[in-house]
Assembly symmetry: C2
Homo-oligomer: 332 residues x 2
């Protein structure tokens, strides 16, 4: 039989798959997860929603999974990564703002006094966010984030922040996608702070990132259209804002949701309230040796109410200490 | 050789593709488009951005295409479909609002006087939108839209509104998707008015619909989480709002954009301003015999500035009369 180019292509594909499949099957897609109830609950959930004919079967378009970012996909201690970004931006912009050295919280940041800088609470932090995150175009801000994230390192570990991601969660993202899930980030962090690197680091494209945002405005500058970032909050994607953000961006209820703090509780509640099989999972930071141990009393990523509700409702609680073989990926 | 189940599956797949491919090739994916400059510009664009090695090649994740809805994917004359929905909802809810019969614009609607109902302009219309689109949960509103769209018919043609979609545009959506594009709706219409049916009618899932919205609020009702639709505008996705909505939801610039009115102009400008190959296309309603003919002076879907800019910039302008073999799909 004379073969067409399309047929040749398929034959080549066949050869690749035929040899690749047994190996792919043998490898555990969740290799960094220890055997135990957490891993078991994940695999059992995925198997039942993907098995045709199963009473829990969910069609591919409805396989929506949402992930918090800070503390769920990457580390958030001793401070949220975006706060380090704010601090670095305040320092970089200080020469253009001579009055900052006499004005809190900027003055503390410039003296290197982080405790003093955060003493102003959320209001002081928001003032620094607005001063560093707005007034430029969206393209300019994207460039700033890309340049910063390419080299900025965690003060404790010396790793790039993008190497402070959790290896077991990277595997979980891949496992879900291999099973037809669409994976989204739903984070209290800035949507435009995440989008420049989530595709490279997590395999999550910009259109699947939900986060907090400032208002933007369309303008023509010398005939060129730009979007300008304005110093006004548009949306806070945290706590009760997470289901709102999910509805606004995704328009359907997730069947699986992953978080680590009380800020994720409403997202998990919203997910759990749908009909059919659901997976609600909390990452519990209980590994002081390899990461950090914190929950009910932490200022960053507090998990208190959520831990009670997870226990009451039988949600999956991952012990980083017991359930994860490794925490961070090997650094190349 | 003993074959595994995976290999058997691939062999079956091979057989299907081997026989299906020549036929699929022979069929024109844009069969309802007449040969001409519009069709040519579409095909030439898709071929150059998808051809590996071409200087205009665009990787699959960046193949973002945005479509206006009213007047671009479905008819908008003599009034936007959502206005008919508002009218029907006012009638349905009138028994619960006895005062409406003495209050404009409700009174005119209830008398069947559409001209009087719209005399109050945007403000009067917005009052009716808020009265009919808010105060319920998102799930309740979805049900209302689904029930309405399943049976509501166009007053002029007697077709279901979902049969007032443009066959050539359905083919264009499919052609782009077959070439690795992700297709989005970016409409001034209500995001939650579109999502319940866009997947079925256009193959566009809820997470790829951008539109205008009201604010929503997360609440626990008898322990059950719900999102309540509030009588407050959240976002108007029209004119300069379209690039803002695109940035907020998609987070990257489209390489192709499709509209029919001045309300789409900024979306087309935003799309055109990116580097690399771009396709900006206006559907021009010039077919009074098969659809409607209107442009510079129309109250609904005015195309005036946009038509000038399209000519000045060499964007594609589709003549419904000359470029489309058929307008609406055959009704089964």
């Amino acid at each position: 039989m004379k073969t067409t180019r399309a047929q040749n292509y398929v034959i080549a594909l066949l050869a690749v798959i035929a040899f690749a499949t047994p190996a792919a099957r043998a490898a555990d897609p969740l290799a960094s997860w220890n055997q135990g109830p957490a891993k078991q609950s994940i695999v059992a959930f995925v198997e039942k929603v993907t098995k045709p004919g199963s009473p829990d079967f969910v069609p591919v378009p409805e396989r929506i999974a949402t992930f918090d970012n800070d503390g769920t996909l990457w580390a958030e201690q001793p401070m949220y990564v975006q706060v380090y970004f704010v601090v670095d931006r305040v320092k970089a912009l200080a020469p253009q703002h001579p009055k900052w050295k006499d004005r809190e919280p900027f003055a503390s940041v410039l003296r290197g006094d982080m405790k003093g800088a955060l003493a102003g609470g959320e209001r002081g932090l928001m003032e620094m966010v607005m001063a560093t995150h707005t007034g430029m175009t969206t393209a300019e801000f994207e460039r700033i984030v890309k340049d910063w994230i390419a080299t900025a390192k965690h003060p404790g570990t010396g790793r790039l922040y993008t190497q402070m991601v959790y290896q077991p969660m990277l595997e979980l993202l891949g496992y879900l996608r291999a099973n037809g899930f669409k994976t989204f980030i739903v984070s209290g962090g800035g949507i435009e702070f995440m989008r420049p690197w989530t595709e490279r680091v997590y395999g999550i494209p910009p259109e699947q990132v939900v986060g907090s945002s400032v208002k933007t405005q369309f303008e023509l500058r010398d005939g060129q259209p730009v979007l300008v970032r304005l110093p006004a909050l548009n949306f806070v994607d945290d706590n009760a804002g997470k289901p709102v953000g999910i509805n606004q961006h995704i328009g359907r209820r997730p069947i699986a949701a992953f978080g680590n703090s009380d800020g994720d509780l409403q997202m998990l509640e919203w997910t759990a309230a749908g009909s059919g099989a659901r997976l609600c999972l909390y990452v519990h930071h209980d590994d002081a040796a390899r990461e950090w141990a914190y929950d009910r009393k932490s200022q960053v990523g507090r998990l208190d109410k959520g831990l009670d509700e997870a226990k009451a409702k039988g949600w999956t609680v991952v012990s980083m200490k017991d359930d994860w073989k490794t925490v961070f990926p090997a650094v190349k």
